[in-house]
Symmetry: D3
Subunit: 229 residues, 6 copies
């Protein structure tokens, strides 16, 4: 039965999250073997949105945002709210007032597989939200859900205390235990990419830099003669 | 049979519309008991679009924008065009030239459950459009439709003379007879929200301000012991 | 069997493309009898994106961007990459590094019926991309596809060397042999539109300018009496 | 505010409905000038489903089927329930038990722009349902809606007492006042089609029977020379 | 990194699964508090499909079914394969030959959030499949995935050894530890429903049987006077 | 400009088509290197539909079926109509009468990326149709399109005279010049599959029959120890 509020779960130190959040979602996602990315229908409500934090999860009934109100009390500085309805819903669960409240408790942003509203106000106050819809359609406060239970959002499992990083490319979930390894691997990856970028802008080709030619030929690549042959 | 142009219908005084349009779509929608909101796939073509006016309705065949041309003659200062195809269509029914014409007749904007084009030009001239698609695909002028008949746009009934308010959150329809009550109720709502916002930014919780705790417990909310218990 | 790289195909002179690209996609599409427009789900990753070039086509397997790497070598100044997967896929095939490489070879932009990532970086470097998704989900380099074979992208046939013009309204394909005729016809159309715009802003109606009234009546249009009759 | 149950509205005599229901939805829709058809995403839960009746309308909150229970009491022999949620929802609002109850009160079927469940049992008891989803996801009984108010279902306005006809091709709404005219016109249409069918099976062409050739040529049809010229 | 095959996990005794599978998905889903239902876009490939078994999970790359081949070796009598791609894909991962192989190892069916093919042959051999697409589009065998790791399919977390029950209404996941309680609760529910069905077919109303009238009035239900008042 | 009817194009001998059509769409698609398959949203209107023929192509405006009437005259025994709208449309372009006419001219079926109606009658007369929608929404006869020009249907290029094979799995296009090679390759494939099926039903594994183990290990597959180790 719904109605559970888990109050105690382990969070990741904010310094660790800050170190990870220097990297973009695409880099982090690659750095952890292409795992943990939320589905592409989850989009930021404004260009340039960026956030990272400890997941506080909220499972909500369709068209009912009561549990978001309940969840705020469980939030601390550096948290990031992750909300998913128990059946698909595009209603506007979240708006400016809830954003004011979350901000007052140090929450970094919201990821919601449902609708969001007051997007103009949210953009102005720079409270970042990733949602699957924008809708002024309000919700009721009649039925319970759960706070800080494992849930599925955007096709990914999210546990309370998982690290969430989000930007214009999407949202990625990093497990608490993996964060330092993923941060290190992201850094390595970015260093390598910087080196490659320097060569690419000079006109070198990835097929040469990454030495792909032999493998391509082995797979059967056939270049037809060109005008310059 | 199609081909009817209703020329006579009652409009709402523009002063009343201006008073209502001080409020956002989300506020107005709540203020009239969550009614009249168009579906979430209707989106503005640029961020920050805003408009309000008396609905002039146009029912159009798929891929045919002839009736929009016919409808302009029926438009007056303060009107807002609401267009819906008789079967789903994403073609670009509307572009810069029609916008110039509508603007010359005082029309405030366009809501269309189909496609729109010339969006760059429309953004520059600040002619707001809410549509379900952006498409350069042109239309023909071969078949009739109807002007100023009741129609369904974005899942809502729109009658000619209904008041339409639209912003970044979506589009809401207010019945002519309700406008003063809804304006008053929106103002009340916004005053209440201002008061609540002041308390929320200080860190107070909605569960306390709105006195939800008893009702939550009655419904069966179970808080698990936290680390600080 | 996949794995073909066609190296030799005819391109359109860049001066001709530049002349055509003075016009918007909507104008060009009308000027060539409403043909060649890609489907409306193909959208630019930032507002104001604009590009035109000779198509280099790339057919890719789902979730595998290897052939984009292969294709770069075939690109010249003024080309524009057109990529389509052999089955529907929203993965992020393309990001900042590939954009750096394309830019270094003079490529003007990318049209891809799949996902794109690093959109923030692409926006900053003004490398225009039209895609059907934004996704950080990476791809592998395991299977071959084809370069410079005819393919279908956004519901349109694209041949290597076709001219691609893209802006906020979408993407249109112009056949090499048609480019001068379409450019001339676009110019004519724009001149006519400028003349009409001048009349519309003064309040004239298209039903008068385009002399539609007789044809409307013949089709059965019935104007109901208005308040001013 | 929601919570209204309208008990009194005019119904169409069942004999009139029976006469209309001899014709298919496609025929009726044409016979009333292509109006009143619900959107194509509304599909029967089994092939061969057929029903016609007086509309009893139910507006329901997302994920809450309480008002369907309330509505049954307002149903009489020959009614057909039309249900639409106030925001999009695919939950299974309806199953075998409610069907037993509706059947006991003479209700002919259900049209619901949401989900349905127990489809195996419904197929066996031949209780026809048209829905936009099949889902075992249950609903709650917490919030009110309205019974017998005008609503929008599948993009069409449905009033209580409107006549609903549904089959494998979809669902069409006929206004009470139009039913005899539409029935007559459907009969005429079907007679004409029977005559045409007899000619078509012999190999005659519609372009000849309907005398389209002159109009096609006038529009600019160009037949290229064939092998047999 | 992908490529893990977990060989050891706990299964539920088949007798327990058989006892549970006497009930339909809708009943089981209600009996466990409306949890564990896969999304409504997952549909059986033929009407009347039914299956229940222990989940063997397979995470596959887009367009690559290699891991399904790998997974078969891990299957035992009474298992049911659950497959999800790491990014959305409608390719036909599965057909008649794989079904023959699965059947030979006692596998009861397949749930796949991707495409299926040879549906005619599968229908004839009565091998039940629930998928989100039917597509003849083949797949490659180039990249690894994982077998028997927790994954998300149709929006639900599925662990190896979870019990899967599927029928025409959809697919529900029951945790191994809950199966006896859910079976008991399903039986109770079905007994209650049988009793209620008997009353409903006689014309009694759920608002009376479930004693809803007082609560409806308290919520604000307003019955308008009827013709018979 | 639209309005072209190409009357002369080469067809494939019907005996060759009959030989190819002994194989299913999935087999043929594999046999020609996974090319030519239409998108998965194209579905048969009844289970067990099957057809093969020479493509007669028809490009139609949205909501206008006039050109289908025009095309019939160009059809011969063994043809199969392929219809695509110039912009997306789900209207019911095709019903029983047109099917009678096509049948009288020996046409084997219809593939249409739009809507179809009278599906009950079509099922009874066994006229197979593959469409992307079922809709009673009628069309007009006002604008021209083209007959027997190359077009894109379901994401594939279809030329007049291409061979179309369709069944429950979808629709595949085979080029006239390839038909004998593809038929031979399909036969080979089916023979190989028959041999493999015989081994699979006995419980052998594809990883053994296809000797995949070494390649799996090389790619990094890691089997965790099982209970029986």
């Amino acid at each position: 039965m719904s109605g559970i509020v888990v109050r105690d779960f382990e969070r990741t130190p904010l310094a660790d999250i800050a170190a990870l959040a220097e990297f973009g979602v695409a880099t982090i996602h690659e750095a952890q073997d292409r795992k943990g990315l939320l589905a592409a229908h989850m989009r930021p409500i404004y260009a340039g949105a960026q956030a990272a934090g400890n997941a506080v999860t909220v499972s909500v009934p369709p068209g009912d945002n009561w549990m978001i109100h309940v969840a705020i009390e469980q939030c601390r500085d550096g948290d990031l709210l992750v909300v998913a309805p128990t059946s698909p819903c595009t209603d506007g669960y979240f708006g400016e007032l809830l954003a004011c409240s979350l901000k007052a408790h140090g929450v970094r942003g919201l990821v919601i597989e449902a609708g969001c509203r007051d997007v103009n106000a949210l953009r102005e106050m720079r409270f970042p939200v990733w949602s699957c819809a924008i809708s002024a359609q309000g919700t009721v406060k009649e039925s319970l859900g759960d706070v800080n239970v494992p849930l599925v959002c955007g096709g990914q499992i999210v546990n309370p205390g998982d690290v969430v990083v989000a930007d214009d490319d999407g949202i990625v979930i990093v497990k608490r235990d993996d964060i330092r390894a993923v941060t290190a691997s992201s850094r390595e990856r970015e260093d390598k990419e910087a080196a490659m970028r320097a060569r690419l802008v000079k006109g070198e080709l990835t097929v040469d830099i990454l030495e792909m030619r032999a493998r391509l030929t082995a797979k059967g690549l056939r270049l037809q003669p060109g005008a310059d042959d």
